[in-house]
């Protein structure tokens, strides 16, 4: 077992405890375990680890269906380094999230996980130097509930009016943050799909119909095999993006995110289908994973990301 896997196992124990707690109690547990400071600087109370262990832990968070903006907190603690805000995030005294849609100038922000419970919000901010981001105080910001996709973990549209800007992230740093967010989100989606995959294998292996386990039926065996295939593809793509190419350059993460989200949606949708009526109802927790994956897809505009991938490939070919 390598160091990342050891860390993942330890994190799994904490995450399994945190997932049933209130938002703030969960935050305390996760902070005590040092998970917020995985990538933060040591001077800010962090561990200054590379992205790989954080990827493993986000994968575990997805698999355990953790309802917490862990990726956002980890990234904010890293990217506000040099400010007093980093230590507050690392220690869990303050919780931050990121609005992946909207910006300061348009006056609205959205697709920020758990915005209602967070103290701070990172919002895109454009300038003549490019697109950076600003960390703002959530106090006093008006929010509109959007319960259309997830009636349990509500989403919000946030009016950005006269925001108190706490810190600014320059365009170069924001691009790096976005890259890492793509990787961590891909890992989270992959974990969510792994949960669905495992639950479906267990269910179909033990549910007896027509005189045998459902896994005796070739059609169902093949469905599970296709789910497994896509899980393997996503896992391999995420591992690939974590490793530099042969020339020591960082690989772009967009292809990995697009593929992982598409594959995760397939796997979880198929899992719901294969659970039959139980999959469609709240008797199984599969819907949490599906909602999370579809939220990520919308937050990062996966379709547009894919189109951008294609457009850039065409331009440089």
């Amino acid at each position: 077992m390598n160091q990342d896997e050891v860390l993942r196992d330890a994190a799994c124990i904490v995450i399994s405890k945190a997932k049933d707690q209130s938002f703030r109690d969960a935050a305390n547990l996760l902070a005590e375990a040092g998970l917020f400071g995985l990538c933060a600087q040591e001077a800010d109370g962090g561990m200054a680890l590379a992205l790989s262990p954080a990827t493993q832990i986000l994968n575990a968070a997805g698999e355990q269906q953790l309802n917490f903006p862990l990726a956002e907190q980890v990234l904010l603690a890293k990217y506000v380094s040099g400010s007093s805000f980093a230590a507050a995030l690392t220690s869990g005294h303050k919780i931050g999230t990121v609005a992946w849609q909207g910006d300061i100038s348009s006056g609205w922000a959205g697709h920020a996980a758990h915005a209602k419970n967070c103290d701070w919000l990172l919002v895109r901010e454009s300038s003549s130097e490019g697109t950076g981001a600003a960390l703002i105080d959530m106090a006093g910001q008006q929010m509109h509930v959007d319960a259309t996709l997830d009636p349990e973990q509500l989403q919000y549209w946030i009016d950005i009016k006269s925001p108190t800007i706490l810190w600014r992230i320059n365009p170069e740093q924001y691009a790096a943050l976005l890259h890492e967010a793509h990787v961590l989100s891909a890992a989270f989606a992959h974990g969510a799909a792994e949960h669905a995959m495992n639950a479906t294998v267990a269910h179909l292996s033990t549910r007896v119909q027509f005189g045998g386990p459902l896994t005796s039926k070739q059609a169902l065996r093949h469905s599970l095999s296709r789910m497994k295939l896509l899980q393997e593809v996503s896992g391999a793509a995420i591992a690939r993006v974590l490793a530099n190419n042969e020339y020591g350059e960082q690989r772009a993460a967009a292809a990995s995110l697009v593929g992982s989200l598409r594959n995760a949606a397939f796997v979880i949708e198929k899992a719901i289908h294969l659970h039959g009526g139980m999959g469609f109802t709240w008797a199984t927790p599969l819907h949490y994973g599906l909602r999370n994956v579809r939220k990520l897809e919308a937050a990062f505009s996966a379709g547009t990301l894919s189109q951008d991938l294609g457009r850039r490939f065409i331009e440089r070919s």
Partner: protein, 399 residues
């Protein structure tokens, strides 16, 4: 192309040196008429392909992992992968000896005698001898355990009778890697025996089979009272099934390891051809096609990840096992879907289109037709799904 000795770098000297060597050498030596994305392209002759691959071998771009004593370069799968990435990145012809280099070689190394290794392996790499693969039969395609071709021991030789089908390259082959059985069909996978049969042995005849792309891609091969010495036997009696399994695992996992990179190369070829033509350029400005190309790129990315992970696992000493089924299934289905997309795009080519676009239309129309075979050969998609269910997921069929 050069016939001179090539200075092959030591991969331990610097990271990336071997891949850079492969890239430089291929760019400097591949004739334009053998590049499928060139206007100078024409179908190369067998002799031209033979010379090209022999030159690649001399340049250290074939037989990377084979021991030096058998003509190889004594390197690792990392160099094999590095070279394959560069082979894939250029629209060069498919190997005319992939059966020999990627299937026969590993099997002979695994179960052949020392004399067989020394006899067969150097000739494969130097492109002096071609091989074909005699596994599938009319009643034993996906279900190889039903094969009927019979080998009977008669003194110090074997008598072989039977029929093989879907055999690629039989017409040019010097040898056939032949899977037979010594007992009856009811023995299933027991009693299978493999041979290296010279194709000029009396009693062998073959009939071409025309495929969907109007090419004589396959043959039926008949073995009527074919007598071979015991020295033609590969491995012990009863070892054939395991050896066949090894061949198929290798075929699915490492054979043509360049596929993901060639896939990307084909996509580049398609886009460049479109950009050479005003009508097709307009098509590519459509967000619909941009997104579909983006989706293909994310599939290629996943496929590269699968291949690299397989190499990492094998370098760590793990067996390929069923992992090859994942790569084969994903590549074949994604590539088939890409071929359909390419056909859709090149269907807009007219006589007024650019020469490169017209060249692309010919290439991708053929590629689309041939892609039908990709989910059939080396184990159909359904066979791969069965393998994943049984050997990776270990799904119970009973309680």
């Amino acid at each position: 192309m050069t016939s001179q000795a090539v200075d092959i770098p030591d991969p331990r000297a610097s990271k990336g040196a071997y891949r850079q060597h492969a890239r430089n050498w291929i760019q400097a030596n591949l004739p334009a008429h053998m590049r499928a994305d060139s206007l100078d392209y024409r179908t190369p002759t067998l002799e031209e392909c033979q010379q090209w691959e022999a030159a690649m071998y001399r340049a250290g771009l074939a037989g990377m992992t084979w021991p030096k004593v058998y003509g190889g370069h004594g390197l690792s799968l990392r160099e094999h992968l590095a070279v394959n990435k560069e082979i894939g990145a250029v629209a060069m012809p498919e190997s005319v000896s992939s059966v020999g280099k990627e299937l026969v070689g590993p099997v002979v190394m695994a179960i052949g005698t020392e004399a067989q290794k020394l006899e067969f392996l150097p000739d494969i790499l130097a492109m002096r001898k071609f091989w074909c693969q005699g596994f599938s039969e009319p009643d034993a395609g996906s279900d190889l355990a039903r094969l009927r071709t019979k080998a009977s021991k008669e003194g110090d030789h074997w008598r072989i009778n039977g029929q093989k089908i879907w055999t690629s390259g039989a017409a040019k082959a010097n040898y056939c890697l032949l899977l037979t059985r010594t007992g009856t069909v009811s023995d299933a996978h027991r009693g299978m025996l493999m041979f290296a049969v010279p194709m000029n042995t009396p009693g062998i005849r073959y009939v071409p089979i025309r495929s969907i792309d109007d090419k004589p891609s396959f043959t039926e091969v008949f073995f009527d009272d074919v007598i071979v010495p015991d020295s033609a036997r590969l491995g012990a009696p009863d070892e054939g099934w395991n050896a066949a399994g090894r061949v198929l695992s290798i075929e699915r996992a490492t054979n043509r390891m360049y596929r993901a990179w060639r896939f990307e190369c084909e996509l580049t070829q398609l886009v460049r051809a479109c950009k050479s033509d005003s009508v097709l350029t307009k098509l590519l400005s459509d967000g619909y096609y941009q997104r579909r190309i983006g989706d293909v790129l994310s599939e290629i990315d996943g496929l590269k990840g699968l291949v690299e992970r397989t190499v990492d696992s094998m370098m760590a000493g793990e067996q390929i096992g069923a992992r090859g089924s994942l790569t084969k299934l994903y590549w074949s289905e994604c590539h088939q879907a890409f071929a359909s997309l390419a056909l859709e795009i090149v269907s807009h080519v007219t006589p007024a289109s650019s020469p490169l676009a017209q060249r692309a239309r010919r290439y991708f129309s053929t590629a689309y037709l041939f892609a039908r075979a990709e989910t059939i050969y080396a184990g159909t998609s359904e066979v791969q799904l069965d393998i994943i269910a049984q050997r990776i997921l270990k799904l119970p069929k009973d309680l």
